[in-house]
């Protein structure tokens, strides 16, 4: 799956969590722009993990602050 396809699928997954309908690009941050709290992060990460059949450990999550980094990380984890 290329980056664009991965991006599209993550965009679909993020929708129910994006309560305020914030416009999302690669620089959109989860904590700041999307105001995700820790419970939302857990549910959102679980949705992505299940969709792509991957694990994003908390150690890896700590490195992911914005949307673009998430898409890159998911691409990489699928490749591994």
């Amino acid at each position: 799956m290329d980056r664009a396809q991965t991006d599209t699928r993550i965009r679909g997954l993020i929708e129910p969590f994006n309560k305020k309908g914030v416009a999302i690009d690669d620089t959109t941050t989860f904590a700041g722009d999307l105001e995700f709290d820790s419970l939302t992060v857990m549910d959102f990460v679980a949705a992505i993990e299940d969709e792509f059949d991957i694990i994003i450990s908390m150690n890896q999550q700590a490195e992911i602050e914005n949307y673009g980094q998430l898409v890159d990380a998911v691409c990489k984890l699928q490749g591994d």
């Binding site: 709290d37 419970l39 679980a46 993990e49 059949d53 694990i55 450990s57 908390m58």
Partner: protein, 399 residues
Amino acid sequence: MTDLFSKFDPLIQQRETLLASGVEDPFNLVMEKVLSPTRAICNGRETILLGTYNYMGMTFDPDVIQAGKDALDNFGSGTTGSRVLNGTYQGHREVEDALKEFYAMDHAMVFSTGYQANLGIISTIAGKDDYIVLDIDSHASIWDGCSLGNAQIVPFKHNDIEAMEKRLRRIPEGAGKLVVLEGVYSMMGDIAPLKDMIAVAKANGAMVLVDEAHSMGFIGPNGRGVAEDQGVLDQVDFVIGTFSKSVGTVGGFCVSNHPKFEIMRLVCRPYVFTASLPPSVVATAATSIRKLMHGSNKRAHLWENSRTLHAGLKALGFQLGTDVPQSAIIAVIMPDLERGAGMWEALLREGLYVNLARPPATPANMTLLRCSLCAEHSSEQVQTILAMFERAGKATGII
């Protein structure tokens, strides 16, 4: 002024707002006198204690107290040293022997607190390329054990067997796996479906650590905890426990049947680099643990108390953390922190102490009034407690 403390400003503000409303500070209560495991003088008022972890009421047991006094006389007030240097006395061996007998396991290692037991064991056994799969509602000491180590940390939704299994299956081939669970989750007082969870963990090649802090002495035919109760204690690689709850003093431990377990004493930093427990503490713990082996009548009464309080609070219209009582902890769910603090204070005025718990300690950002029962609460006291809840609940508009 901006300095390193500025990050605490929102919390300071929240606290000030709460106290400005006139309520007593729920996190600053002083017990001036302790009359028994279930009664104390707080702010000059006699108060029923319903928010301690003194589940089996061992703190005033005459044999336990005598053992502590004897140890003070014979071994002094403290060891002034690490377990691996000058800090292992006869009493430390004796309490480890008592634990081995209590759990019928080969090895027991005593730490200065249960917090340190989790910190030490978890951070030491799971290394850099290993994976720790744990329940999202795990106790702070488990999370801190994860932070202290270098393993990959993978949480799953509370008590969700399928979520746990999926994560275990996705772990790369060859990586070491540790599943960390609790018997009783202390905020809501619910138990884990350990039988099924441990079967899944084992099927996926993981080692299993279960924190039984809130079940020791009370749950299971021999008081060994939820894993014993569900018939899977032999599948658990490491049991973590504490002396600060049913045992009635302070200290923590890990018991295990792993043949190489004793090496932990040399490699586990929160065991090595801190002073050992005072002789009086290990003596009271050993005596208490041996008495807990014969506590079946007390256990039965504690279950009865738990059932009566749960049914009574439910009938009064309070919202509870579990549909049926699963442990000695009954969590009463409050609409928010402000009204929770108001209800907490109203109960204190009635002469009842419960725990006010709030985020981040609680799941789902809830404010809880946590009631923990004691085997020494009489049936009449439980009725008194229910009447207090009714008056305070109506006065504050919670029910």
